[in-house]
């Protein structure tokens, strides 16, 4: 399998442990990632909060860069990026006049045809049977709370992925790897997203509820597929513990960490040793 790769800023910044583990997994599973040449930021929350045109133009340029190289599919492992790319793609597909004006703004002809996949969808495309066959170290001791957060499943008419209230796609992957999952209540609640810097209290409160609920349902770790969720639940966990006077000590894994562990990689090869919360 050969597909375009849009890492986004987080995976080339402080969430480079996410890129490390997904590259390790995909190499083993014969997926070749071709990074989009000279990609730019999708604009994230700042763009859609402050300027609607920019919120379409920035992702549109990246779609055009991939299209013009002939890629039909692109992996965007950050749900913020993939949602912004899909939102722009949908707006462009529905409106010829917008396509023309955005093409002029971004100085590239854009059709909006490249399909955008999140990491869960890529593992689904590889196939659960293939994953199962590649398992070298079943996740026997893992009892995971799969956490989807906001943008993997919302807005549903944009991302068109899984059930937006009761998603199960990550659980299916975990179970194929020999792990157990728990039923819990906060799978699609928000962790505070991009408020980490501007309003830390929002993040502490929302993330504390998520960690508390996961533990109450018997989880011994959380599995995420989003760099922002990881920052808020892992990097901010010491602050949450200090603020609420509790000890969570809840390891937070990227989906590619747990796939990598099952494929037989050592934690250090996946960047798990670079997380803030150590192995429980």
């Amino acid at each position: 399998m050969n597909l375009a790769y849009y890492p986004g800023c987080a995976l080339h910044g402080s969430s480079n442990d996410y890129e490390q583990s997904l590259r390790a997994c995909l190499e083993t599973l014969d997926v070749q990632l071709k990074e989009i040449d000279d990609w730019i930021c999708c604009g994230a929350t700042a763009a859609h909060s402050l300027n609607q045109k920019l919120a379409v133009a920035l992702p549109a340029r990246n779609l055009a860069l991939a299209e013009n190289k002939g890629f039909r599919e692109m992996l965007a492992p950050c749900p913020m990026c993939s949602m912004q790319l899909l939102k722009a793609r949908k707006a462009l597909a529905d409106d010829a006049a917008l396509r023309r004006s955005v093409s002029e703004i971004v100085e590239l002809e854009i059709r909006g045809e490249t399909q955008v996949l999140n990491l869960i969808q890529l593992f689904e495309a590889i196939g659960l049977d293939r994953l199962k066959a590649a398992v070298k170290a079943p996740l026997a001791s893992m009892c995971a709370a799969c956490y989807y957060g906001c943008l993997l499943t919302r807005p549903p008419e944009v991302v068109e992925f899984d059930d937006f209230e009761q998603p199960r796609s990550m659980e299916k992957i975990l179970e194929a790897l020999g792990g157990k999952t728990v039923d819990w209540n906060f799978r699609t609640e928000c962790c505070g997203a991009g408020m980490t810097m501007a309003s830390e209290q929002t993040v502490l409160e929302l993330s504390h509820k998520i960690l508390t609920n996961a533990a109450a349902h018997g989880a011994n770790c959380l599995v995420v597929a989003c760099p922002m969720c990881h920052v808020n639940l892992d990097m901010k966990q010491p602050n949450i513990e200090r603020h609420y006077g509790v000890k969570h000590a809840m390891p937070i894994y990227y989906l590619s960490d747990v796939v990598g562990l099952a494929l037989g990689f050592k934690p250090e090869a996946l960047g798990i040793n670079r997380h803030f919360v150590g192995k429980a």
């Binding site: 080339h12 910044g13 000279d38 930021c41 909060s49 045109k53 703004i105 906001c150 997203a193 501007a198």
Partner: protein, 155 residues
Amino acid sequence: MAAGMDLGPSRLIRLLQLGQTEKALRAQGMWQCVSCQTCSTRCPKSVDCAGVMDALRQLSVERGTDTPEQQRTVLFQKAFLRNIRRNGRLNELELIADFKISTFVHGRSLSFLLKDATLAPELMKRKKFHLVGEKARDRAVLARIFARCMDDSIL
């Protein structure tokens, strides 16, 4: 998330229906909103409440009606976009420096300026922090895209 807002999505929408735009623009709700899309997804009338939040934020910034309580979020979003316009890709170190300086200029809070300073060595130890960030090659096109989308004075 709506529980923590002074005016949540349904109240803001009601104010707008009643034509009380100014009152809606003075609320904190849209700046407390984390854009999680829950309200839009669950609205029984399919109102895109999160889209309305975006529109309120954009109007508020364009009209300059953002109140001091809203400042931190607004300053963060502006610093973020300035960073993208300059580099094409987010440079986290530059963003933090720009955001901290602009909040200090506005609020003179030394404790907020120094908050999280201890995080930098922790991130460096984990090789998650880069002193020299990545940049897109064609940064001139970024400046042109921004100029075509928004008024320079907003950032």
